[in-house]
Amino acid sequence: MVEHHKLGDPIIIIKGLEKRFGETVVLREIDMVVHRGETVCIIGPSGSGKSTLLRCINALAPINKGSILVDGAEVNDPRLDKLAVRRKVGIVFQQYNLFPHKTALQNVMMAPVTVLKQDRHEVEARARALLKRVRLEDKAASYPGELSGGQQQRVAIARSLAMNPLVILFDEVTAALDPETKKEVLVTIRELAADGMTCILVTHEMAFAREIADTVYFTDGGFIVESGPPSQIFQAPQNPRTRAFLDLVL
């Protein structure tokens, strides 16, 4: 068990969020508050809208009702600079989605240099430090095609960190990995969370969620069915649907 650190101010506040794809409602009445330094895990059956929720927070998917405040800015506001939100919210995808024509180092450096217009030398030093942090300093010159899935995913985490985000969203980042490489990635995320990085994870790794989460949300059918500390969700779930789901996966 990781020792849970004290939580800071709320940086993401979601109220009454509703998201539809055409006629289908995929998220409804979502309320969620994420504090600085908090590690949040979202669990639930496939198709319950977990990934969509992350994409809404990052302004990759527009919402139909409700509000999402990220560091005080309303993501649903059409006048909002979406790029400003994305500078604060990093996301790591299930399929890594690295840029195949760039080396690991260039992948990490690209956004700070291109988007934030930061000094190339300074960014390079930081990018090398980040690659070291995910234990890939010797792979700086490798292209994504030359790396294993776990290595690519760790480069993707370093790439996200390079933007100095307030929060990082992890969208089933170990779902495509084999058991050994999965572990490397989980170790990296555990270290990040322990360092005080605010993380929101959508995951099917129940043991991992139980270990690192400050708060666990269980979603089903587009609703948040139950939320609370992992001790409550995993040991004493209040809702029968949570219980039924955990009986299936644990």
Partner: protein
């Protein structure tokens, strides 16, 4: 992609046949020991003129390709623009220019463009070969537009999302992430298009540009010898083949490399 290969084979066979005819008529000329000059010496005599005409074909092909590409890239990007109006217009222009006969477009530009235009009181001549360049650049533009569209659409949607999530602007995403990856896939069809264009340049002879084909015909008229017909045309054919076949080979090599990579 066997199309360039088949074309190349046909050309090779044609050249071989021409060479045989050449040799036979040469032998015939020697046997009859006619007073007139040998075919070989006549071909050599006209070679510099035909070659200079052929160079104009190449110049026209290079310039048309350059102009067509510069115009075709934004047109292709326009075809995938989010703005509906831009997208519709770009697609319409692309479809129109791609599906028009090249020769008709050439005639059209020949007659639509003035033979000279006035700029700051000076009259600047507008020679036929430059009009031909523009005439051929139009279909090139339409084809490049399609190549760009196809290349960009072949890049997975996840790459766009990945760039977006890192706060890349749409323009940064296109120019730094998508196009560099699409370029590798666009290069073989683009080179194929160029080879087709180069081989189509003798069309400009029909609209009165003094190209390699015009020079061959001129030489034939000057010599007035029917046994020169095949050797002289074969000479021009050989020039085109020597120029275009390596392009076809390189295109195939690039295609094979792309298949392995992706």
């Amino acid at each position: 992609m066997s199309e360039p290969r088949v074309t190349a084979r046909c050309v090779a066979i044609a050249i071989a046949a021409a060479a045989v005819v050449d040799a036979v008529s040469l032998a015939h000329a020697q046997v009859s020991s006619s007073a007139s000059a040998s075919i070989l010496s006549l071909v050599i005599k006209w070679l510099p003129l035909i070659f200079s005409g052929f160079l104009l074909n190449l110049l026209v092909s290079v310039l048309s390709m350059a102009i067509g590409t510069v115009a075709g890239v934004p047109l292709g990007l326009g075809q995938i623009a989010r703005n509906r109006l831009v997208q519709r217009c770009a697609s319409a222009v692309t479809q129109f220019t791609r599906n028009a006969p090249w020769l008709v477009l050439l005639f059209l530009t020949m007659f639509l463009l003035p033979f000279q235009f006035r700029l700051f009181g000076h009259s600047i001549p507008f020679p036929a070969w430059i009009k031909a360049v523009i005439g051929l650049a139009i279909p090139v533009m339409g084809n490049v537009s399609e190549i760009v569209r196809g290349g960009v659409l072949s890049i997975p949607r996840a790459q766009w999302e990945s760039a977006e999530s890192l706060a890349f602007s749409p323009a940064q995403t296109v120019f730094k992430i998508i196009l560099p990856q699409a370029l590798k896939r666009m290069l073989p069809p683009w080179m194929n298009l160029y080879a087709i264009l180069a081989m189509a340049t003798p069309l400009i002879a029909i609209v009165g540009v003094q190209d390699g084909l015009t020079d061959v015909r001129g030489a034939l008229v000057a010599e007035n010898r029917t046994d020169l017909l095949l050797p002289l045309y074969a000479t021009l054919l050989a020039m085109f083949f020597v120029y275009c076949y390596p392009i076809a080979l390189a295109t195939r090599a690039l295609e094979r490399r792309a298949e392995v990579k992706f």
